[in-house]
């Protein structure tokens, strides 16, 4: 049996599974809390909001390719329009034995790339003109391999499912604020203690939303590290991805604020986050720190280069 140099990271897998387990538990806790709160009064409104929340999550996932392309004002490019980009992706997809995604280019100077789409067959990989100008061929290949790994790991689906508890909690918060204003006047109160049902719902959904927000960011960082690992192992050039990361993250912090705002809502699907210097960074950023990413890439390179004997 041939040896393998493409080892996984058991610790990362464990941490990621734990976070996803917690997110699942959060979802169950939310449902149970709602069932208890609405145990005596009519639960129909909450059920409706819950289904609507799941519908929103489903729609975000289902149309993720077109939504993201529109949000970034990206256009799809054919093999004739961008032959080098297509040839690079062709080879990577052959190497990884995965279906080739559509390819898009966004006309922005912000150096970045993202992958989205509801399944590997309906995926799209988008690069900005800024990244095309700044990176050399090898670095660009590293970035594309990272994005293709997101596609292979179905990260859009995973993140959407993982965020469904948060989406429902967010909608419940809105709904209960509405109920607080109008429902309270009609005297709908819990029979036992006199606290309005909608106030309890508000508190519960706010807590769920906050916890889910932090867990999602944690999960996002783990998924990024996984994509780095898989991408570097695909190209067998962790060094190229490392130098791309250094170039891009270094640049992004110097980009004017105008571009940053325009791109902010897209951060979770980006290759490198477009906001620099946020407080609470370690808790709430969608991407791991540059140091963390470089450390992992260095370990992969050592493993790929280790003498056999």
């Amino acid at each position: 049996m041939a040896r393998t140099r493409f080892v996984g990271d058991a610790g990362l897998t464990f941490r990621m599974t734990t976070v996803m387990f917690l997110l699942g538990g959060l979802f169950v806790a939310l449902v149970v809390a709602l069932m208890v709160i609405f145990g005596r009064s009519s639960p129909s409104v909450a059920v409706f909001i819950g289904i609507a929340g799941l519908g929103v999550a489903w729609w975000q996932w289902y149309s993720s390719d077109t939504l993201a392309m529109k949000a970034m004002r990206a256009r799809e490019v054919s093999a004739q329009q961008a032959p080098e980009l297509h040839a690079m992706i062709d080879r990577l997809c052959t190497l990884a034995d995965m279906p080739k995604p559509r390819v898009g280019v966004a006309d922005t100077d912000l150096p970045n790339a993202f992958a989205t789409g509801r399944s590997p067959k309906r995926a799209v990989v988008v690069v900005t003109t800024g990244i095309l100008q700044r990176l050399d061929a090898e670095e660009l290949e590293g970035v594309l391999a990272h994005e293709l790994s997101h596609v292979a790991h179905r990260d859009v689906l995973v993140m959407t499912v993982a965020s469904s508890a948060g989406i429902i909690a967010g909608m419940l918060t809105r709904g209960s604020q509405y109920g607080l204003m109008f429902g309270g006047g009609r005297g709908r109160r819990d029979n036992n203690n006199g606290v309005p049902v909608w106030l309890i719902v508000l508190v519960v959904s706010l807590v769920v939303y906050a916890v889910s927000f932090l867990l999602l960011r944690l999960l996002s960082r783990y998924r990024e590290l996984s994509a780095d690992r898989a991408g570097a192992q695909l190209t067998m050039k962790p060094r190229a991805l490392a130098s791309a990361l250094q170039k891009i993250t270094g640049e992004i912090n110097r980009i004017p604020q105008r571009d940053l705002r325009a791109a902010q809502s897209m951060n979770a699907f980006f290759f490198a986050p477009a906001i620099g210097g946020v407080s609470l960074k370690t808790l709430t950023s969608t991407h791991p720190s540059l140091e963390q990413r470089l450390e992992q890439l260095a370990r992969i390179e050592a493993e790929l280069g280790r003498p056999t004997a």
Partner: protein, 196 residues
């Protein structure tokens, strides 16, 4: 459910190369000669991604030594292409048209593959190329995709131009002997590949 677990844990196992299909090539070569008058040139090449570091350098040297000391002593050279892949070319004497046998070439190519795989670099293998020429000077390469385990023909007829009709005839002639890549979008062009 393995796929589901891989998605949940965000892992994709690197795809391992399939090596054994190469041994079907000598028979397919005879069919191609009979049906289309295409003769193997006797050369062949393996295209792979080289890793940095001592491990890979050792493995590659092992291949060069191994092929250098075989009986037929083919000339072995390596070169880099513009996509960052390495081509290892095995350069044999032209085959005898009356008895074209490329079993030795396929054994050599297999030795390259299995050495890389044994050293843990199997996932870096992209494709293998076995060039053929017709009596009229047309050239066509039989390309083997390691990850898909399938073959397809590539016939360059000029700069950035492919002879699709010849490719389709080669496909139809070889279909009985070799697993042919059904997805035409996987029939990647290999402009400037060695031997074509």
């Amino acid at each position: 459910m393995g796929g589901f677990w891989d998605v949940v844990t965000g892992r994709s196992k690197p795809k391992q190369a399939k090596l054994d299909a190469l041994f079907a090539v000598p028979n397919a070569a005879m069919t191609l000669q009979a049906a289309l008058g295409l003769l193997p040139t006797g050369d062949g090449a393996v295209c792979y991604r080289a890793a940095a570091g001592a491990g890979f350098a050792d493995a590659q040297q092992e291949i060069l030594d191994l092929l250098g000391e075989s009986d037929a002593t083919p000339r072995v050279t390596t070169s880099q292409d513009s996509f960052g892949f390495t081509w290892l070319e095995v350069d044999n004497d032209p085959v005898d048209p009356t008895a074209p046998d490329i079993t030795g070439l396929c054994t050599d190519l297999h030795a390259v593959n299995s050495t890389l795989e044994l050293n843990g670099y199997g996932p870096g293998l992209l494709c293998s190329l076995i060039p053929f020429t017709g009596a009229d000077g047309r050239k066509v390469g039989l390309v083997y995709l390691y990850k898909q385990g399938t073959f397809y023909p590539f016939a360059p007829s000029g700069p950035q131009q492919r002879d699709n009709l010849l490719e389709i005839s080669v496909r139809d002639a070889a279909a009985g002997e070799l697993p042919i890549e059904k997805d035409l979008s996987r029939w990647l062009a290999l402009w400037g590949a060695p031997g074509l």
